[in-house]
Symmetry: C2
Subunit: 355 residues, 2 copies
Amino acid sequence: MTRTTAEPFTLTCPIPLMDYPRVLMAHGSGGRMMQQLIEKMFYRAFDNPELLSGHDGVTLDTGGIEAGRVVFTTDSYVIRPLFFPGGDIGSLAVFGTVNDLAMCGAKPRYLSAGFILEEGLDMETLWRVVCSMRQAADRAEVKIVTGDTKVVEKGKGDGLYINTAGIGEMIHAVHLHPRSVKPGDKVIVSGDVGRHGMAVMAQREGLSFESDLASDAAPLNHCVMTLLDAGLDIHCLRDITRGGLAAVLCEIAQSAAVQIDIDQQQIPINDTVSGACELLGLNPLYVACEGRFVAFVAPAAVEQVLEIITSFDQGKPVSIGEVTAGEAGLVTMKTIIGGQRILDMPSGELLPRIC
Amino acid sequence: MTRTTAEPFTLTCPIPLMDYPRVLMAHGSGGRMMQQLIEKMFYRAFDNPELLSGHDGVTLDTGGIEAGRVVFTTDSYVIRPLFFPGGDIGSLAVFGTVNDLAMCGAKPRYLSAGFILEEGLDMETLWRVVCSMRQAADRAEVKIVTGDTKVVEKGKGDGLYINTAGIGEMIHAVHLHPRSVKPGDKVIVSGDVGRHGMAVMAQREGLSFESDLASDAAPLNHCVMTLLDAGLDIHCLRDITRGGLAAVLCEIAQSAAVQIDIDQQQIPINDTVSGACELLGLNPLYVACEGRFVAFVAPAAVEQVLEIITSFDQGKPVSIGEVTAGEAGLVTMKTIIGGQRILDMPSGELLPRIC
């Protein structure tokens, strides 16, 4: 079991063909310039028969998807800066939506891509993002099959926003859901937390750290599919994004009406992340990841779950605690110094536009 | 056959419950405030079991959709102003995506909704838009089943952008596509053109006309389903949006590699629209609609197609011309004064952010 690595997608920039080095309002007009942008940029990068069918929507080859097994999700991406160590808005827009499908237990199949471009955006920047999306889609084994482009005036956007919606296929008869979480379940985190948020913050604020800090952004679907293929007794999966590990645990404790007790000592946090958080006065448990998830599993399945996640080399998974009948919605943490504290949902906004 | 009219959806504004009269960055944080926004605003307005299942994605009841019959599409909406005579960004975001599915011959079933909110947006404005989306979804008979909310800093957006992606079901074994258009086909336009664009322009520029000018924005799916239920020999449908009637005809003439000849005299244009266009130096054939479509149909089907469209009371349909083998990609128009001119794809941008 090794991580799927697709051939990297490389393509020279079509800008010499594009006549315009920057995005103009007319690129969103429905006319010739929009047609040119779509054909020379999007069709070329995403290149697949469904997309090239070129109609208002696309009929999907969902032959083989059993009735009632289609999963649907959407996310918009407004991260800044557009490029950061370990990724960019394009790869994030693919992985984020792919991961949402995977967390439902679905095999991601198709994505849409809606671009909101700010007038004046460099075509080369757009091309880099679009190529990154294609590369990310290849890695996650999904296709970008339909899309849309809008242009807003300078000062009414921030370079580029992307929405992706995704369609996945439920292959296994599982019901992964917060409400399936039960007392006795073990809580597994798939790797160290907080790296994405801190990598973006460092880039944004121009901070440099002793060692390189790269985002953990990654597609989780191959790992999740392997877990499900193995038929393990898993009750819920949730990717750790906005609000960090703490928000995920609080939300699930509420939905499932259970108590969750975790042990701070067990939570894997990279030293550079810890240091950066200390410097900025942040708690890493509230900082977003983009390639980590929490799994709620029956005790008997813990060992195998840890083994499979480890084999994907996307982080070192650890069991950090367990679910009890205790008080519905409560999340407690045994601290490193031996005390106990309550973990709350974050209420303010410490790290805006992290995804 | 009458137009479907759903019970209007009314709900009092939950602002007293929301603590904050305006959108803050924290409403996009993944924390408590975002949770509150989702539960008190989106869950309340869109209210359906799929949405309320509250996971990263939603498993759809697509039982009964035959394998290989799922249609997928997306559009972002950046129109300004947010409210205009005959609609708003919310109803547009529903009808626009519903219409894209309908143009493929699909019965629209499910929508996603991705919101990009600008910090400082009035909660009441958001609520009006969200209620309008629900009302539009009821009218189109689709459900908004999954969503996402992001917040960007003041000055990095323009109040509110919405992306909707849509999933539809191919019920009929038809292949409506530009490449299915054949010489001999008649070109039918479903009603008067240019009303949406001019209504929005008038609102934006503070122009007032002698008579009220309202957008034609409307869901076209019920009309299209009735056309397909009747088993008529229809080859292609296309809604008239950005770029207007001219752009649609040029695009289809190119895709199908046919010539299209139309008769200006036959093209229905509302008098107020004509007057406003003249005033602003615009050609109504390049102005967007949001509730009109072009149908390419076999001559034998023309009469029944006109009859069915008429019965929906969404405009008076007219046959405006025909397809010939002539020159691939060419669109010619017999002018009112008896000459002939070529219709080109629009190249610049006359009416930005019309959808």
